[in-house]
Amino acid sequence: MTGDPLFIDGVDLVDIGIMAAKVLVAFTFLLVATMFMVWFERKLISDMQNRIGPNVAGPWGLLQTFADGVKFFFKEDLRPENADPLVFRLAPYIAAVTAFLSFAVVPIGGSFGSGSSGTVTIFGRETYLQVADPPIGILLLLAMSSIAVYGVMLAGWASGSKYPLIGSVRASAQAISYEAALGMATVVVVILAGTLSTHGIVAAQAGGITRWFVLSSGVVPFIVFLIAATAELNRPPFDLVEAEQELVGGFHTEYSSIRFALFFLAEFMNVITMSAIMVTLFFGGPAGPILFGMTWFWPTVWFLLKVLAFLFVFVWFRATLPRLRYDQLMHLGWKLLIPLILFWLMFISLKELRAANDWNWIATYGAAFIALAIGTALLLAGLRAGDRAFQDELEEA
């Protein structure tokens, strides 16, 4: 919250009121958006499969999720006999709360660039259109996505049943593997922006599409981030965590009623949050042309449209890509994404360092090229040795 001009000159009741209103609006927005995200996904995926999808509850089936939610509330809440009572109850809340918390640091509006610093005026007070702007904003996001793994892990472990356990073990292994790539893609953005605060990152991208980090970082970090985010969200094609054909329902097999609904909510909420984070990190957040009047209104519209585009992409992934095998998942994560983003991270750091210290062009990039070639050769040799060992193991078995 430190960056927010709301608190610069002390805190009084109006400030607290504005803060409470922001929290309430963000909370409600996220809940409603999640509700429509479920509808959007079901509708879009049926469109992509020549089906109609939900169309009975409300106009165009818009109230389908609402109906499902009401149904969940009235279902019996079962707990398996072997389950650990406390942890079994705790897990869904970990998942849901972390999903809510990550959204708090995402700036959802405010005009950036050309003199204005992304503030809006509410009741005569200047403030950011985000719940909180901690100086470690991005770290908070990474921390929350890590803690969310505990929700899944504990749910599977506490269920006292084998399929949830396998699902949760897969989930933690997958999350740890892809968090590395996700984190390094984020670090690229942090290096370019020079700040960890989400507000600062958006401000650094103000001033036209070419300033957006998706282009100025060279697209690769964005693609790595997108793939790693899909894996972090356990969405197809990386939905091994809840591979229905193999694991019944994965980590939430034993959950029913409102506890299952919480997992469901957290999952779709994370999709929205992750889309919002990608917009913030790579697509300039709320940046976009102010068409007429209402300077506070248009950035939010652009932000929502960009998020919607990513939601579409996630559903598109689900409609198109078949699920990866587990070794393919690990292969993609460790042998492709991590080396790629590692090289890219070093390249970007070098570029920034050269610009800052005014190093010689040829010497810098020549040394970088040699280091890159050696690194690639070592890596390829390592990968080949690993493959050979794997083949030998297969032949022995």
């Binding site: 020549n50 109609i52 890509l321």
Partner: protein, 216 residues
């Protein structure tokens, strides 16, 4: 396009026509040899075709048919032969509509109509007895209160029978091998299951097959 070709396929699907039929609201036309609930046919003079031989009960894989035959009385026979179906029951909680009973029947007594939308509120309604199965005096199936009928469902109850020559040859050989039916007489053949055959349907059916029935 390589790896990304699939994305184009799914995206183009957005603009294609939907294949879903919203079933209770709209209904697709049924094929002429649809397997619905059974009828017990009668000859043109009103006699029942069933002779109580129990071949249908014997062949039924779901064991849903129960038949008991009895001798016809000389003064007031129910069927032309020596015996008739005294008890005839089909349990529709078990029937799988495989039509083996229709194939087994030596007198074409049992055939299947196109009625399939029926829901009973108790088990005894699910067991159709002879009174319910046998065709009425107009030669049409008798409508039960729990059945939902659509136009043409009760017509052409013996399409399959008339599609195959008695020799078992799917090409109809221009020789009628079946008996007449009450209300219809000796019906025209269906043109068989051969690829080149194009069935000409009676006027009422042709109309029905042309358009989706909208009951909304």
């Amino acid at each position: 396009m390589g790896y990304l070709g699939g994305f184009k396929v799914t995206f183009m699907k957005l603009f294609e026509e939907r294949v879903t039929t919203e079933y209770p609201k709209e209904k697709r036309p049924k094929p002429s040899r649809f397997h619905g609930r059974h009828v017990l046919n009668r000859y043109e003079d009103g006699m029942e075709k069933c002779i109580g031989c129990e071949l249908c009960a014997g062949v039924c894989p779901a064991r849903c048919i129960y038949v008991r035959g009895a001798d016809n009385s000389e003064s007031d026979p129910v069927s032309p032969g020596e015996r008739y179906g005294y008890v005839y029951e089909i349990n529709y909680l078990r029937c799988i509509h495989c039509d083996l009973c229709v194939e087994a029947c030596p007198t074409e007594a049992i055939t299947e109509s196109k009625l399939f939308e029926f829901s009973f509120a108790n088990r005894s309604d699910a067991i159709y007895t002879k009174n319910e199965l046998v065709v009425g005096d107009d030669g049409l199936p008798q409508r039960q209160p729990w059945e939902l009928w659509h136009e043409g469902d009760d017509l052409a109850t013996s399409g399959w029978m008339r599609a195959t020559a008695s020799a078992g040859n799917p090409d109809y050989e221009n020789r009628v091998g079946w008996s007449g039916e009450l209300g219809y007489g000796t019906r025209d053949p269906e043109l068989g299951q051969h690829d080149s055959a194009s069935d000409e349907k009676p006027e009422t059916l042709a109309h029905e097959h042309d358009q989706l029935e909208d009951v909304d």
